[in-house]
Symmetry: C2
Subunit: 327 residues, 2 copies
């Protein structure tokens, strides 16, 4: 039986998700909602979506829907996910789950009160290659005790105060848009850090143009990462321990190879390429959760989304980065 | 006219330097000194050194010498470099110049009082590839304004409390032995940082088994680096800016390729391979300085060696890593 999806928002992510939903035999992209009917219609034409709504209220009122993908900027996640949950839908909400931990708490409360499924759309966690990484690192322990995770993510976005990424009102900045990935990567592998040290460079608009942090775990692991709106340092990741290292080559999350080098010099390399944009794996997981009657994902649980935001709140507080909604 | 070198110490570094001195037509390895005559003799036989001294005092009293390479552990640099300077020799002293900034100050004072040449043996700075990096980054500005330097260095040294690297009395720890390289790399490219944040994991002996830091410069550059005694994360470096990135592949300092990727996708790659261990370049520089009558290197000046140690002192203070000599 097909699951009926609605997409709230018609931006870049909405396009990528709409493409990927087509790859899932049991997913039906039934409805799209935009603030402007014309944008909903254009999107509907592009992706062959039968129901096109000219407001988010109309979208969530659509009785055909099973789950709503909230694809608006971070600053609007609380409002839009609340709207969908209160209308009785399951919600897959773009990352980060909300602008800050306080907003996430409200959202999680709403989901629980309405007994509805809610998940942060941390799509990279559901990539097939992540199963390999977990198995190699935690089960086969090919690296021994992991000493280090290093990850970087960057784009070369020309500085433009009017662009979403530089706009505090839209929750701009490198951390919430890009840093959330390495932060969630570290949480996925090692949990919440015991100590965090960090550094940021702010743009004129007050958001973090780039940031770097070291997470330290009491068992001796360190996770260091960097996120930048102005430079692309290679988009690689490395896990290292006394027995070897595991390296995700450039764009590993797009199916580029992972390389394992053991301390005795032996090497191995493999890739998990896929068709599409990579959002189909999280969507399939959401549908599996719904089939099983879950209100929460065991892979991307709500407490973890909340903890991610607590960590990101603490980082922003250190840097003096606050959004107008938080004043 | 040949420059007569003496090596103080017969450990691993002394061997590597002795091999490389042979590659320089104007360098003569004239003398070696050890605490034990037998070790001096063995070293002398291996490297065909005519004068073998059974004490450091006897070595520095050798009138044939022009310059002494101090190749003992960090904890002994002050004592041994002072000995050589006071005996009237130029000194090339292994990195770091001393155990801490206070010791470095005393050493620098001694060198200036005796009007003798003194330089920290930061050999990587003299590699031919570093000329390319400086030219590309600072003159040709192929990356635009550099946003990020990332470097990592690590070894997989089994934990052994009796090993030099884990011994506080010998100035052990990842920072002084390995971290000094990325710290000096950042100083070479950008100078002393305006802000430093860091994190370390301590071994049972109290030294830093691994450490990570982010240097922040007020112009918006960040330098993040990691040093580990227990894991090798790849030994690469990356410089990134809006116009592209420059990546030193594994063991770039041994002549492995540097790769330039411009933001338009164009790539270039080059290497500066060399014979030997790489210490011949700093030795040639020392001889050029001596020929020119300099008491200080313009490439690795004493104020910078001092500043490096001030930064490393501050890092160790944050981590609570102190050596017994500092009590």
């Amino acid at each position: 039986m097909a699951v009926n999806w609605g997409i709230l928002g018609t931006g870049n992510i909405a396009h990528l998700v709409a493409e990927d939903l087509r790859r899932l035999p049991n997913a039906e992209l039934t409805a799209v909602g935009s603030r402007a009917q014309a944008r909903a219609d254009t999107f509907g034409d592009t992706f062959d979506v039968p129901h096109r709504h000219g407001s988010y209220e109309a979208l969530v009122a659509d009785p055909a829907l099973d789950v709503v993908h909230v694809a608006t900027p971070h600053s609007a996640h609380l409002e839009h996910a609340t709207l969908a949950l209160e209308a009785g839908h399951a919600v897959l909400c773009e990352k980060p789950l909300a602008l800050n931990a306080a907003q996430a708490e409200r959202l999680i409360d709403t989901a629980r009160r309405h007994d509805q499924f809610l998940m942060e759309a941390m799509w990279t966690r559901f990539l097939p290659v992540m199963d390999d990484v977990h198995r190699l690192v935690h089960e086969e322990r090919v690296l021994g005790d992991v000493h280090l995770l290093r990850a970087d993510i960057g784009v070369t976005q020309p500085v433009d105060p009017t662009h979403r990424l530089f706009d505090p009102a839209l929750g701009g900045g490198a951390l919430l848009d890009l840093g959330v990935y390495p932060v969630a990567f570290a949480f996925d592998l090692f949990g919440a850090p015991d100590t965090v040290t960090s550094s940021a460079v702010l743009a004129d608009t007050g958001v973090d143009a780039q940031c770097a942090a070291v997470f330290r775990y009491d068992d001796g692991t360190q996770a260091m990462w960097h996120a930048s709106l102005g430079a692309d340092a290679g988009r690689t990741c490395v896990l290292a321990g006394p027995e070897g290292r595991l390296r995700g080559t450039r764009a590993w999350w797009k199916g580029a190879p992972f390389e394992l080098t053991r301390s005795d010099g032996a090497t191995a390399s493999w890739a998990r390429p896929y068709e599409g944009n990579g959002y189909q794996f999280e969507a399939a997981h959401v549908m599996a959760c719904l089939r099983e009657g879950r209100t929460e994902s065991p892979v991307m649980p709500l407490n973890e989304s909340h903890a991610l935001l607590r960590t990101m709140d603490a980082l922003r507080a250190e840097w003096g980065v606050a959004y107008p909604q938080e004043a």
